[in-house]
């Protein structure tokens, strides 16, 4: 494929490790970059990688006029929203397009369609994908009792506009139902400004499997295979891998093809990920993320392709960079999310007195850390992604564990030791992960108190 033309200039409307990822892509593709940053992030070293940097506010990466103005005064032709922040804001996608720039992502209408999880369920169901049994769209308070009765416990209360594990509650006991609804609504209202919710049958011991797709916006769609992200705590992914292990290849391929068909039908544009729960040989759609995902590197490592480059290509050329046959898979890649958090999962911001990343064959590190960096308390606790590629799953697992052991992050607490413990569990080694196994692991065996070495 040809690289996007170098005359283009990209505003990176994000921060942290994903800003680093996007800056690297710009450098490698010969695209000029402008980094939007806040006063809180003014010390971030990656800002020096950009051709230009523009301060957009005190601490806010959600200010649409500020982002658009920053792009305009710096002569940008494209905006990449990364993940989180404005990445799934249809208003932002619309504003970027109206301002005459390329939004590196899908059309606003598809962001809106998939952003309302209740509508997304109905849409993909119509497109031929099976969804988790549950309410048709949004649920009104009066319908709750009869619906829960019909589905049977346990159920999952989900905010229509939730995400990242917020606005979700599992109900095992009918007595908890009202409390769970109120909590999920309050959380969703606080985080997303909407309190609408829907109800799904809760599938215990399921696996989280997802399919990465890329569309040209005209009906041509390809997939990048599957990822497995069952290793979660409170619906937050901790370890992801590609391809999804231990599931019949024909079954996975069939799922990917169905996703391609569905996305082709709606003429989806740019990168997206359809997420499923897998239980008893069946895949059930849960939601779609209309953006680049945190765990995209595992797919890049097993395909040798650059998903950000593909995103830029689609935006600039309105066509796919390659055919489905060009997407070939080799080996297994596993990613760990290093979070700045204490052993009891509380955020642990502060000064990183020493940072030393790992290396060696098959190791990739996506991080904005450096020795002397102060992790701000204002943002997400993700500070580094360590990804290992191996010829098979066990090789990747061992390489990742070795890389985690090598990683030095002093001065703040991180979840590194928990990640190493998870990698060593029989469940993980033998491919028996489920969305609940980390919770059980932590519950059965309380984490040791930190001994002073925060590493």
């Amino acid at each position: 494929m040809n690289s996007p033309e170098p005359k283009h200039r990209l505003l990176i409307a994000n921060r942290g490790e994903i800003a680093v990822r996007l800056l690297r892509a710009c450098k490698q593709l010969g695209i000029e970059s402008v980094a939007a940053y806040t006063k809180v992030d003014a010390e971030a070293r990656y800002l020096n990688l950009a051709d230009q940097k523009i301060c957009v506010g005190q601490q806010d990466y959600l200010n649409i006029p500020a982002m658009i103005s920053a792009a305009q005064i710096s002569g940008c032709t494209m905006i990449h929203p990364g993940y989180g922040f404005l990445s799934e804001s249809e208003a932002f996608a619309e504003a970027v397009a109206t301002s005459g720039m390329h939004f590196i992502g899908p059309a606003a209408e598809h962001i809106e369609m998939m952003g309302d999880k209740a509508i997304a369920r109905a849409t993909v169901s119509d497109l031929g994908l099976s969804v988790v049994e549950g309410s048709k769209g949004e649920v009104r308070a009066a319908e709750v009792a009869s619906l829960v009765n019909k589905l049977g416990l346990p159920v999952c209360i989900k905010a229509s506009f939730g995400g990242g594990g917020r606005g979700m509650r599992v109900v095992n006991d009918i007595a908890q139902l009202q409390t769970a609804i109120v909590e999920a609504q309050a959380e969703a209202l606080a985080s997303f400004g909407e309190s609408a919710f829907y109800i799904e049958k809760y599938i215990p011991e399921a696996r989280h499997i997802e399919v990465q797709v890329l569309g040209d916006g005209k009906g041509d769609v390809l997939h990048f295979g599957t990822r497995e992200c069952s290793t979660q705590r409170r619906f937050q992914k901790l370890i992801e891998e590609a391809p999804a292990p231990g599931i019949d290849a024909a079954l996975l391929n069939n799922l990917a093809k169905k996703c391609v068909k569905a996305m082709s039908d709606i003429k989806y544009r740019n990168a997206g990920t359809l997420e499923f729960l897998y239980a008893e040989g069946e895949f059930h759609f849960i939601e779609m993320n209309t953006r680049l995902q945190v765990e995209h590197p595992v797919t890049e490592l097993i395909t040798g392709l650059d998903i950000v480059e593909a995103q830029l290509f689609v935006a600039l050329n309105q066509q796919l960079p390659y055919a489905q046959n060009d997407v070939r898979f080799s080996g297994t890649a596993i990613e760990c999310r290093i979070n700045a958090e204490s052993h009891d999962f509380l955020p642990s911001p502060g000064l990183v007195s020493n940072y030393s990343p790992p290396g060696g064959p098959g190791i990739r590190v996506d991080s904005h850390l450096f020795s002397g960096y102060r992790v701000p308390h204002h943002y997400d606790s993700l500070i580094a992604k360590i990804i290992a590629l191996g010829k098979d799953r066990e090789t990747a697992r061992r390489r990742l564990d070795c890389a985690l052991e090598e990683t030095e992050i002093d001065g703040i607490s991180t979840n590194r030791d928990l990640l190493r413990r998870i990698l060593a569990t029989p469940e993980f080694v033998e491919n028996r992960m489920s969305t609940e196994f980390v919770t059980k692991l932590i519950g059965h065996e309380p984490i040791q108190q930190p001994d002073g070495d925060a590493g």
């Binding site: 806040t38 006063k39 003014a42 010390e43 800002l47 020096n48 523009i54 301060c55 957009v56 506010g57 005190q58 601490q59 806010d60 959600l62 200010n63 649409i64 006029p65 500020a66 658009i68 103005s69 920053a70 305009q72 005064i73 710096s74 504003a95 301002s99």
Partner: protein, 192 residues
């Protein structure tokens, strides 16, 4: 360049008779020069940079550096107050109204000079339209509430008004250029 290094250089200069010093380190360079005792204006050696010098502290070095971050540059001014924390979405909630500059980042200095900084990222205009006179010019007396400039953001014209009465000492930004959040725009010498 490491801010501690710059601070050290300033301290060294203050202890010496040097009038100016320029240090290069790779792509970074910083020049520190001492304003003459007679001068009442800050020394601005690079128009692209946010040079914030304390004009009346004549012995105080002013600093300009090619790649100094605005924040770094500002720290060099002995400011007596931190910027108040504000709601991050304030600019969007006030699309057309006037924004009182003091709510954002006026930086009272030891001598009472204040720097008015941009409350939002956008395009800076000194006049209401291209043919009109500038709202304010250097040396002009300013009343509290006077319009200093307009910052355009997504076709919204945001009027920036003065919180202070006094004399306009410096206009730090060219008309019709882009300004980033918290970029110094004006220096005002309050009348009291």
């Amino acid at each position: 360049m490491d801010i501690r290094k710059v601070k050290k250089l300033i301290e060294m200069m203050q202890e010496s008779d040097l009038g100016e010093i320029e240090i290069k380190e790779g792509d970074d360079s910083v020049r520190i020069s001492r304003a003459s005792k007679a001068s009442n204006s800050p020394i601005v050696t690079s128009a692209q940079q946010y040079v914030v010098a304390d004009p009346s502290q004549s012995a105080q070095p002013s600093v300009s550096g090619r790649r100094l971050a605005p924040r770094t540059a500002k720290k060099l001014v002995p400011d007596s107050s931190e910027h108040p924390q504000r709601s991050p979405d304030t600019p969007t909630t006030r699309p057309r109204g006037s924004v009182r500059s003091s709510e954002w980042a006026t930086t009272p200095e030891i001598t009472g000079h204040v720097t008015v900084t941009a409350p939002m990222v956008g395009t800076f205009y000194r006049a209401a339209d291209p043919d009109a006179e500038p709202f304010v010019t250097k040396g002009q007396q300013i009343k509290q509430g006077d319009t200093l400039c307009i910052i355009e953001s997504m076709k919204m014209m945001n009027r920036i008004t003065s919180e202070h009465a006094g004399t306009l000492d410096e206009v730090l930004v060219e008309n019709a250029t882009g300004v980033e959040y918290d970029q110094p725009l004006f220096v005002i010498k309050p009348s009291s």
